[in-house]
Symmetry: C2
Amino acid sequence: MRASRFFISTLKEAPSDAEIVSHKLMMRAGMIKRLGSGIYTYMPMGLKVIRKVEAIIREEMNKSGAIELLMPLVQPAELWQETGRWDKMGPELMRVKDRHGREFAIQPTSEEVITDVVRSEIKSYKQLPLNFYHIQTKFRDERRPRFGLMRGREFTMKDAYSFDRDLEGMQKSYQIMFDAYVKIFTRFGLKFRAVAADNGAIGGTGSHEFHVIASTGEDALVYCPTSDYAANIEAAEALATGTRAAPAAALEKTSTPKAQKCEDVAKLLKIDLSRTVKTIALTVEQEGKKQYFMLLLRGDHELNEIKVGKVPGLAQHRFSTEEEIQEVYGCVPGYLGPIGTKAPVTVVADRTVALMSDFVTGANEADYHYTGANWGRDVAEPAIVADLRNVVEGDASPDGKGVLAIERGIEVGHVFQLGTAYSQSMNATFLDEQGKSAPLQMGCYGIGVTRILGAAIEQNFDDKGIIWPTALAPFELVLCPMGYDRSDMVKEETDKLYAAAEAAGIDVIVDDRGLRPGAMFADWELIGVPHRVVIGERGLKEGNLEYQGRRDAEATAVPVADIINFIKAKVQQ
Amino acid sequence: MRASRFFISTLKEAPSDAEIVSHKLMMRAGMIKRLGSGIYTYMPMGLKVIRKVEAIIREEMNKSGAIELLMPLVQPAELWQETGRWDKMGPELMRVKDRHGREFAIQPTSEEVITDVVRSEIKSYKQLPLNFYHIQTKFRDERRPRFGLMRGREFTMKDAYSFDRDLEGMQKSYQIMFDAYVKIFTRFGLKFRAVAADNGAIGGTGSHEFHVIASTGEDALVYCPTSDYAANIEAAEALATGTRAAPAAALEKTSTPKAQKCEDVAKLLKIDLSRTVKTIALTVEQEGKKQYFMLLLRGDHELNEIKVGKVPGLAQHRFSTEEEIQEVYGCVPGYLGPIGTKAPVTVVADRTVALMSDFVTGANEADYHYTGANWGRDVAEPAIVADLRNVVEGDASPDGKGVLAIERGIEVGHVFQLGTAYSQSMNATFLDEQGKSAPLQMGCYGIGVTRILGAAIEQNFDDKGIIWPTALAPFELVLCPMGYDRSDMVKEETDKLYAAAEAAGIDVIVDDRGLRPGAMFADWELIGVPHRVVIGERGLKEGNLEYQGRRDAEATAVPVADIINFIKAKVQQ
């Protein structure tokens, strides 16, 4: 490609609404252009990256045996009503009426449509297994779109759906997809991690998320450096190790004025935060009846809402109101504690709290805490002990093979064992060898195509701009001639090198725009092309060209005769 | 590809809602699957064809210098309001509100968005010319979707938009696109014709449609076999040749009971239909005032509504009601004529009618016609003479180089000189050398990607099924082994041939499904793969394979050693 025939439009400053680095750099590099909130035009430079992402996904999906089709964007409401998602999904499902008043969804995913296709096409176990995928535009009417392509409303997604006759087959299809995803993200050239994920409201029997590692990521990924264990913090089990020590201190009621938070109490009493216990009051309302739960967490631990929802009886909880707390505990919030708590309150202690002794907790009286509190002696053993908290670095790995570390990631893929959730509600069945009908076992597998761009940049940038991995770069190589329009020698060598690079299958762009070196280099460093060759008279007279990798501090002189092989080796690295 | 790893689903019968052959065959061949009215899932076999269409378009667009980007599906109403299309477009524009109540259009085309992109990106004449295109899903809420992909609601279109500094530049960009379209349709392997088109309501300075020739086409294409002249019948000028003969007959009022139509009058009077003149009464209402026009057409000619709309004063016409006719002409419809007609009626004669003499026309009295009517002698010369009719075969070509022929076509492409219609309303300007601001000159260029499939089939089918041109076929070659699972010799030769075909770059599928020959052949003839090789024990023992082209009546024996070169030659034809 010649730059003069392409469209390059870089900006010195990012628009003020760009909050994160990938959004800023994509705007500055002219890769995307905002059309509306969470809606972007993919400009030529950005589209080239998207096409590379799609091509890698397509190749690996095809190799894995998945079959590509294309499902419509505008999908009849009737199908979404069959699975109940028409009602279950909130306003993030974009709904539209046609001229006859019939309702449609603009697809955010295609479980309903693919299940409809399959239920009419699949009759027999002989046609199984099957895995269909498409790469299609999606729409999700986010309440607060932001971060450019990271949380847009219109985006591109690869979604695949597998169909099997039984659980074993489904798990096999799931594993094939898992392996394909590993290949895909490896080919992208990104540092990534697959982690066990929470199954969410949809149920199902298992799921993994694929995250691009980036310090700016929204998700906390828990892993064990000495084993295979990895999970999203939402799903990572917190073990409580050791045993409860015998009481050593006496129970004392201590004045803690204005110390409603554990942090304040610890400071006031000059003790470690890990000696305190914090209390969270929950209410469960069912059929007009209210139940009250007191959750106990170590002062330095964080509540994990997903885990709370899994405690029997707490699926539909909410935080208690101040009025409820006053009424039930006779105390203002901030000074609650298990001592003296009785029916109708159920105490739910985190595993760690259940093993504590001589702890500090609220006295159910404003401005007072107890110190030296002990289970059994001062307060009844908790009614329920459960895993309620996020793991922290240094926790024991649930597989018993080490201690946990935490890093941040950006979710770009999700594989999911759906089971029969959709096939049962939509009556998608097959006949087995005995002619018996059974629901299809399904899996679904998504990759956020356009989100990959944002995630790749969050992982790979510097103060000059983007640093694309070669596999995703809009161009693998840029040729920067010094005086293309002034020096015959430079022009001739540049044209020769351009032809040779194209012939060698390198995705090359030559900057024939006639910019000065500073502006030219700044553009390509911002855009993030990983390999650059400068063609200048001085070097040519010595038989050399100047190569510089995007991460290199300095250029390297490479003999003209060697340059193509040199670049080929770099590109293939 | 191995058939066992692909998804093949053929039907004996087409569903009853499939009216035309391409729709029936695409359904039977398992290429598309109906999701809703005018909304289809592209099944794997159909998607393969779509991808081939897209690849050819993309290659030729890129070669022509156009630059690919991707504009969103969901577009803010504000942009559509700027050009007035939000109101002008009827219910075929699908409109949707987001969760905040903001309005959006699901794009049917992208003039507004590209003009918005360009007005913020283009500052100077130095950045021109530019041509941006995308291949994107479109939605048009047709009142009556039908004919499968031919008149669907959701479809794929390639739309390109050129931007130039002046008319000359725009016409050059237009010619480049016209030439690219000729290359694209030639590469498709379809018989097509580019015809001059009516510019429609949008104005502009010129446009051409590209039609795939098919006897089932909705459009009549007028062309001159001895010159370059070609136009859609909507736009083809009808010349009146010769001069008006002197009156030879006397004017006579003749009883023509119950003969309201020219056909009936001619039959009754035993004269040729071309001796009669038919009358069409129009009303134009403006600011509460009504004007009346009497259109005259030769009895055997057809009214061309688009031409009528271009007659000065008739842009906003409608057919007169029966009440209006009674009031103005004092006569029931069917017996109107120019003789005796006076103000407020304006007579508008077609060019051919203006040259007639001794003609037959209504007497403005029920059950009576005049014969032997003559201009000047019996009735005043018409107030307006204009081209009002469709041309017919044998008419003189407007370029004076022969006589016209007519064939039917399916519109699959449209190139359009827009001029400044959009750039002015959206204030998309550039600065010239003198720093003067001027609106950009635009062109727009569309190809109906998914419609190509329907059109190609309407042109190429037989009673067995589809006959794809090689360039569009889902697979170029199918290998049909006779007993792949029974004969080692057949399996071995099939696998060898499959590998060799893939290595030679042939898009090959091997049917390893284990079907019987009849069912296997019927499938591939229905699907329309253009080249087939049968591998059987009997032939192999003689060193032969059986080749049969989809249009061939019989198979040809080809020596095993020659087959790859033989197929390569066939595929490249």
